[in-house]
Amino acid sequence: MTAFLLRRSLQALLVLLVMSALVYGLIGLMPGDPIDLMLTADPNVSSTDVARLKALYGLDRPLTERWLRWLARALAGDLGFSRSYAAPVLEVLGPALKNTLVLLIVAYTATFGLALPLSLWIAMKPGSWRDRIVNLGAFAGISIPVFWLALLLVILFSVSLGLLPASGTGARGPDWMDRDWRYLALPVTTLVLANVGAHIRYLRGALLDVLGQDHIRTARAKGAGRLQVMVGHALRNAMVPVITILALDLGSLFSGALVTETVFAWPGMGKLIYDAIMGSDFNLALAGLVLATAVTLLGNLLADLGYVWLDPRIGLAARTQPRGGR
């Protein structure tokens, strides 16, 4: 177990390292050199001054050296200064992380609160009308563009009906719970509708997989009720894929909420990364992207662990084989 964990963590760290180098390189290719941005403040700067400024900030050094320097500082806890917020990057990341967490916890709970009973209900009678209708709805959910869904909700509930606020967090103070909860309604609805379809299809598949197995027939033959078979036997055995998708989702929701956050002006990690890239706030964009990658990798790691931990049939030896699974 320890060896497996260690191997996976090392792999994740390697990916994170490569990703940080890649993003560092790419950010250097974005429009708006840091020196150019300074020049806009003073148009009288000569070309020798530009060279001096570049030397002063180490921008005349090769890319790899600059990246290594950034890495050394980042590991020491110094992620640099955010240009657009005029504050250390770490101080900017904190509140954004908090906002994203609030949104994700509520959306996550609601998505599963909806997907689990629905998939249990339709898996009882595959091929029935309710199965077809829920499946169709799930397909629609998968195919709908998130930003369009968000716009429609805004048009309906904010512009036309004037019922719900369309932007902002509604936070009243530093306390997590002290907020106007109505502000969560539209972004959470968007995230739930956009994600619930994929979850229903996945859970339904997992449940039907288990329902086809022998022990279910045994349980039925012994007179277990339908509900007992579904919850006590099928769901219990389908927990492995459920946990897997929960963990995998951590990452995709974390950065996948980017669009939703942007439409509803929700100052979370996704919007932060987007604004940082668009506003040439290089330090912030870099830190945000690396953090988003780290969370995604962590989700994958948890999914792998949950898999091994929950299903004793899956030997560690089999999982550590380089089979490209996850």
Binding site: P145, V159, R201, G205, G251, G270, A285
Partner: protein, 302 residues
């Protein structure tokens, strides 16, 4: 949704009706968008309008005989813009999916056939690609200044640059599913007697890949490519909506939605149509792909 595909055994699969419906919808959309110049010439003959004519005296107009769906915030005909935008969105979807499939096939066959260290390296790369936060990374790539990469300014500043760039970006990130599929099939086929016999007879690896392996991966490849057309259209529309994809004056459903957001208080219809078209297209692709998946894949055939 990035991630593992759902377990499929025990799944009875969709009926042929949904697949036919999806295919018919796609065909209709493709024909309509391809006929855009024809419709435009008809409309310009009758009413003297075309897709790009700005008419500031007819801004945000409702439907009329000349403008069947009304006009946008600059007085351009909405229907014609939607059709031309559809060409771009469908082109990006199909071209991106094809690019991704070619890349995925090359990587998958390479990994599966070579085995050993190359296989391990390519599959770790695939794992890593899947673990990356896709959307933020695409945004960074879409924001890169192409002149700094060393491309000629003439090309970078041309209207079509944003189109080529977006196809390249979505294609570069969509190959992972195909690569895994193709590798798995390659591993399977490689151990077959006839392939080993061909190898023993001294047939070159390239010929083995083309003649023996490729035909075997074709049907999963077609399914994966079909399904990824939907993903590509979705990614293009998100990036264009965020202002990083297809750049105006070239219309795409995504960038039309982006500009419709500003007038959504006064003219919600502008935000309705482009999104509806993306939705219908992606839904049709998914219907078709899901049915193909259930019918074509020999491993799932009853």
């Amino acid at each position: 949704m990035a991630g593992a595909s759902p377990p499929v055994s025990g799944y009875t699969g969709p009926g042929p009706v949904t697949g036919l419906l999806g295919g018919a919808l796609l065909l209709a959309l493709a024909l309509l968008t391809l006929a855009a110049p024809l419709i435009e010439s008809l409309l310009s003959g009758a009413y003297g309008i075309d897709a790009d004519t700005v008419d500031l005296f007819a801004r945000n107009a409702g439907p009329s005989a000349a403008h069947w769906l009304g006009t946008d915030e600059l007085g351009r005909d909405l229907l014609l813009r939607l059709l031309y935008a559809g060409r771009i969105s469908l082109l990006v979807g199909v071209a991106g999916a094809c690019l991704a499939s070619v890349l995925g096939t090359l990587i998958g066959i390479g990994a599966g056939y070579a085995g050993g260290a190359l296989d391990a390296l390519l599959m770790r790369l695939t794992d890593a690609m899947i673990a990356l936060p896709l959307l933020p990374l695409l945004i960074v790539l879409a924001a890169v200044d192409l002149e700094k990469v060393g491309l000629p300014p003439g090309l970078v500043r041309s209207d079509a640059a944003s189109l080529y760039r977006i196809i390249l970006i979505v294609g570069l990130f969509g190959w992972t599913t195909v690569a895994r599929l193709v590798r798995a099939t390659t591993l399977q086929v490689r151990s077959h007697e006839y392939v080993r016999a061909a190898h023993a007879l001294g047939v070159s690896p390239l010929r083995i890949a083309l003649v023996h392996i490729l035909p075997n991966v074709l049907s999963p490849l077609i399914i994966a490519t079909t399904l990824s057309v939907g993903n590509m259209i979705m990614l293009e529309s998100v990036l264009s909506y965020l202002g990083l994809g297809i750049q105006p004056p070239i219309p795409s459903w995504g960038n039309m939605l982006g500009s419709a957001q500003e007038t959504m208080q006064t003219r919600p219809a502008l935000a309705l149509y482009p999104g509806l078209l993306i939705f219908v297209t992606v839904l049709a692709v998914n219907f078709l792909g899901d049915t193909l998946n259930a019918r074509l894949d020999p491993r799932k055939a009853p």
